[in-house]
């Protein structure tokens, strides 16, 4: 394995790029949402301002060790995802530490951050946090069903679980993209993505003005800053995951930025159109069409 300093530094660089792109992307998205609902929205540089404010907040309180560690776990979840994700196909610099695990690792590493966050928020003792978490978990169980089916379908299709291999198989022409070679899997995955990104109608976890902002309610200042940072990284990385699996990956940062933008935009687009589900509705919804499509996507390969 390659533990060299250069790799470490390159990874940090990649992380920096991803983080900033993530923040820019989120501000852009919020502007779009605002425009749709007839407002002007925030300036594009708002996230940086927020971040600086949060990190420089003077008074901070903690509810205990786990509360303190919660954000660390959370950020570790995002960063870890990034670390194990080959970002730029063919670039020896930005394949990060993806040699230490394949798709399965990515899938299961998502839980790392979530769990830490849940525990941290849990120690906060804030009822809304608990409610948010319970909703999140409930919904997440079924979000993963179509995703799992899609992944299985991919694994059958490409007979591998290595992301790099999957990307490689999609090179050449657009026609090689999974989007076209395995449309059902793609659809199933993209539907589950809606839940994963947690925009309306699936934004039950943070559910603005229902339970203030769910799990992070008690977090503020540096902690919230850490969480925000993580959010930025996570969005891009997850989008990158879908990009790698279904949209031919990226051979350059530009390609990555474009593709991730549109993948993320898809969830926002749906979000502005549909109102929020209730928890049982969302759970049932994922078990209906997306699951069905996922099953089909496997059946056609059997």
């Amino acid at each position: 394995m390659d533990y060299s300093l250069s790799r470490f530094l390159y990874t940090l660089l990649g992380l920096f790029i991803v983080m900033n792109w993530g923040m820019l992307m989120s501000s852009t998205m919020r502007r779009i949402i605002a425009r749709v609902s007839g407002r002007i929205g925030i300036p594009w540089y708002q996230p940086w301002i927020d971040l600086i404010k949060l990190y420089s907040l003077r008074s901070q309180i903690t509810h205990g060790t786990m509360f303190y560690l919660g954000p660390v776990f959370r950020l570790m979840g995002g960063v870890g995802l990034f670390l194990f994700m080959p970002m730029i196909y063919g670039s020896a610099y930005f394949m990060n530490y993806s040699f230490s695990g394949d798709l399965i690792l990515i899938l299961y590493f998502q839980f790392f951050g979530m769990l830490g966050m849940a525990l941290g928020a849990g120690e906060g003792g804030q009822p809304y946090s608990a409610i948010g978490i319970s909703r999140g978990l409930s919904q997440f169980t079924t979000i993963e069903v179509p995703m799992t089916l899609a992944v299985i379908s991919l694994a059958i299709q490409y007979d591998t679980l290595s992301i790099t291999e999957i990307v490689k198989a999609q090179q050449g022409s657009i026609a090689n993209w999974t989007l076209f070679t395995n449309p059902f899997a793609t659809i199933a995955a993209m539907l589950s993505l809606l839940g994963a990104f947690g925009h309306s109608p699936f934004n039950l976890v943070k559910a603005p003005n229902e339970i203030p902002i769910g799990p992070p309610t008690e977090y503020h200042g540096t902690f919230l800053g850490v969480l925000r940072t993580n959010g930025a990284i996570l969005h891009v990385t997850e989008a990158a995951l879908f990009m790698n699996l279904f949209f031919g990956g990226a051979t350059s940062w530009l390609e990555l930025i474009l593709k991730t933008f549109f993948i993320y935009f898809w969830s926002v687009f749906v979000g502005v159109v549909f109102p929020r589900f209730r928890i049982e509705q969302s759970v049932r919804w994922f078990l209906k069409w997306p699951t069905l499509i996922g099953i089909i996507s496997i059946l056609i390969w059997m």
Binding site: Y97, S100, G101, L105, T148, I156, L161, T222, V283
Partner: protein
Amino acid sequence: MVSPIYIIVIALGIAFSLGFFGKSKLNFAGILVLLGLLGMSFISGQWLFAFLNDTAVNTLIFTAGFQPPYSISLQMGLNEAVLTSMVNIAGLLGFVYLFRELSEKGIHLLMVYLVFVMSMNVSLMTRDLFNLFVFLEIETIALAGLILLINRKEAFQAGMKYLIASGIISGFLLIGIIMAYQSGGSLNIDDLIRANSSIGKISSIAGFLILVAFILELKPFPANGWGIDVYTAAHPGIGSLVSAAVATTGLYLLYKVLPIVGPQFNDYLVAIGAISFIGSNLMGTRQDNPNRLLGYSSVGQVGLLTLILGLAPSLGNQTLPIVFSILVSHFAAKAGLFWISGIIQSNHIKDWSGLRSSPTLMLLFGAFLLALLGFPPFPSFYGKWELLLTMGGNQQYTIVLIVLLGSFIEAIYLMKWLGYVIKLERVEIPRENLTLHKQMPIWIMGIVLFVMGFLMNRLNNYGASIDYLPLVFIFLLFVLDFLPVAFKNTLSIGGLLFYFIHLWDMVTDDLIRQIFLVIFLIGGILTFLAGYAQKGKRPGFYPTALLMYFGLAGIITAQGMFDFFYNWELMTVGSYFLIIRGKRSMPHAYSYMLFSIGGAYLLLAGFALAAASGAGEGLDALQAISILPEWVYGLLAVGFMSKTASLGLHIWLPGAHGEAESDVSPMVSAILLKAGVFGLVVLFLSIGMYNPSAERLLYVLGWVGALTTLMGNMSAAFQEDAKRLLAYSSVAQLGYILFAFTMMTQMAWLAGFTYTLNHFLFKAILFLIIGAIVVKLGTHNMYQMGGMIKKMPFSFIAVLVSIIVIGGIPPLSGFAGKWLFYNAILEKGWYFQGALIFFSGIVAFLYLFKLIYSVFLGQLKDNHRHIKEISAWVLIPSYLLIIGIMIFSAFPKEVLLPISEAIAPYFGNDALVWEGTKAISHLGYWDGTTIAIVVGTAFMLILAWLIALSAKAQKVEQFNIVFAAERPFRPETTHVSYNIYAGFHKAVGFLVTPVVTSFWNRMAEWTLDLAGWGRRIYSGSIQNYTIHVFFYIVVFYLLSMGGY
């Protein structure tokens, strides 16, 4: 040697001379009778001894100095020696037991008693049919007299019924005898046998009448109301004689006259026995009067023996050993139980809980019940094993079915009874009955039981394979039970450690067995460590726990089906006694036992069917099943799955594990369940990778495993009781394991073993700690806990680690399992089961979060503010296990590589290629070590960063939170825990509607209704009972002789 004729001389001489004793010298009279009985026992015993040393030969004693058939002759052979000894011992002990009652009532009953015992001796020995009849009548009349021992109207009525019924029976017998004389020209049994009765109508009618008379003497179900009433109403001391001595005699008489009748009745004998066995036990399920219950049980046992006699042709020279082994268990157990009943003097089995005031009687009571059910190390175990395997070998599957069914029904009520005695609130038993002369006979019968078991074990051909060392050690601990816990704990740990070392070299070349041996014994030691935290003496805890552990160890070292099953049963018994220790666990232990016994019987059936293939009785014989392989494998698999609590057989587990004592839960959950896993491993390995006859079975089991997982995880998510939550999670984990093993590929088996190890590690931790917390907080309900992280940081960390493992979150070892699972499923192509498995894997997060959040996080309750960290004795084993987890997580290769090599011979070796620490399957790759390093470093960096940024963060009070502008005023209102997955339940809760539970409940109801229907038979009317007798005779006649 003293001629057996003197048995008569002694008995009658003393009986006649008793007339000289007036009221004054009653005790002297009693002593005289005692001496007489001693003499009789001596005579028969000395013959028995001679026969066992081959110094005696089968001898005929002529009376009046003339040859038979012209004069009556008595025979003294091995059978007679054994049986007369049994009868005399029962008579002697019974007299000791009844000494006061009998002698204070005057000389008359003393005479009757003596003649009673004598009559049984003679009828056992005589070779003359009519003489047999005469002494049978003596027996009847004497019994009718002894019934009067208690002066109650029930007794009089029972006696009347008994007299009339047996009068009718003997009438038919008399006709039979005279007609046999008419056709055979002799009254000598041997002559009549030679006369070959099967020819000629008159002789066959004679045969029929004789047979039916002797069958009816055995009180067969359903024509036995008169007999049952005797059991119910007579003094238990007499009941014991009837059940032990009279039944024994009756059976031998049947055996004696059978040759006269000829073989054409064997099938009817089997049918009659079967009906009696099953029907009578069915009646037993509804009894709560101990004597009546014992009566039904006796009839059932005798029915079983009748059935075996009917099978003589196919059992060959095995018949008598089998009969004896079961008979002697019945003999000792029933006598003992009736005597205990006489001490307790109650009409309701629930009052027997008073036995707990006398440990010895308690032990014997348990031993007697288990002996009746044919558990090791008691004689009947060997008998049933022989019987079933021979039957299976002859492909007489219906017999196997009948025997197992009947035994199971018997277990239903005997186990219920045992549960009552162990758990119900203690009812004091009359002290004055706990005299020596009342207890000593019971002790002796208990000793007889154990000794006979030992002899059986040494006599039969498996004897060598059974290790008595553990049993001795357990007995030692039972003797030392009065010592404080700490001592016994140390002793037990020492014992396990020694046994572990002792067994290790038996399994050095077999990694799989080594793994399980470590799980069982080292795991046992770890769980015992937690025992130091216990206060008081914990009476009876250590013997039973060790029984379980030694049984488990025995399963591993077993070479043949026999010793496997033997230890399996030991383990079952031990675990039952462990589980039932919990406060509210009586019903759960009961259902656990029923499922275990049912499972054990399925195993037995499986082995029996396996015997049909004639590949011997080694475990490796399972590899060569030629006859009905799918059935064999299916039965065995389901049998094992009853222990692993797979879907459909799981309903016992939540209660049993949830209600068990805090340090018992980890034993039964983390360790005991692996017994079933080991069974499955052995089974599947012998099935082999490509076995067409098991394809379908494995496929189905795979689905069962997957569904079990889903059901378990979902149910766990909806629990409020912490320990039940863990219990359901065990169900789910065992589902994973079952699923993994059914895939039968190397990758899958790696996954399976990973799960097995992980489950052992984390479930032990969780149950240890949660159990301790439950005890400390005094509640099972999680919503009543909360905020414990402040009080018990170490427990929190331990629990956190284990749930990370369960969730399969990198970098801990749980992820290894998940990764292997994905690869295995994709290789195998079981995509949809796989999807189900992963779905349930995510559902697991629901309960994991609920567990750790509701207990440790959230709001600390006011009444818990004084709570301290749980005992170090619980934390030590937990952290030892955590070290195990960490090692496994950081260096998976060191564990997985040997395993994959160990199973390579069965599945080939193409699953994993190792590049350094990197495991490469043909689908993907995974490097546990690197992941651990990367994650660790990154985590540290981030942590450092955060600390740098927010060093000045200040700690705040519990209620320093604000939500929606209200301030929380009580923890209860702010701790969101109760039913937090309401929404989820609303959406998919229908998946966990308890169909299985209601199914089993309905089964139970049906059985009891069926039994209740029997009330119609037992109307208590003398007339109806006589009518039943006639009806029985007529039906039997029309069925068997209708041909004429």
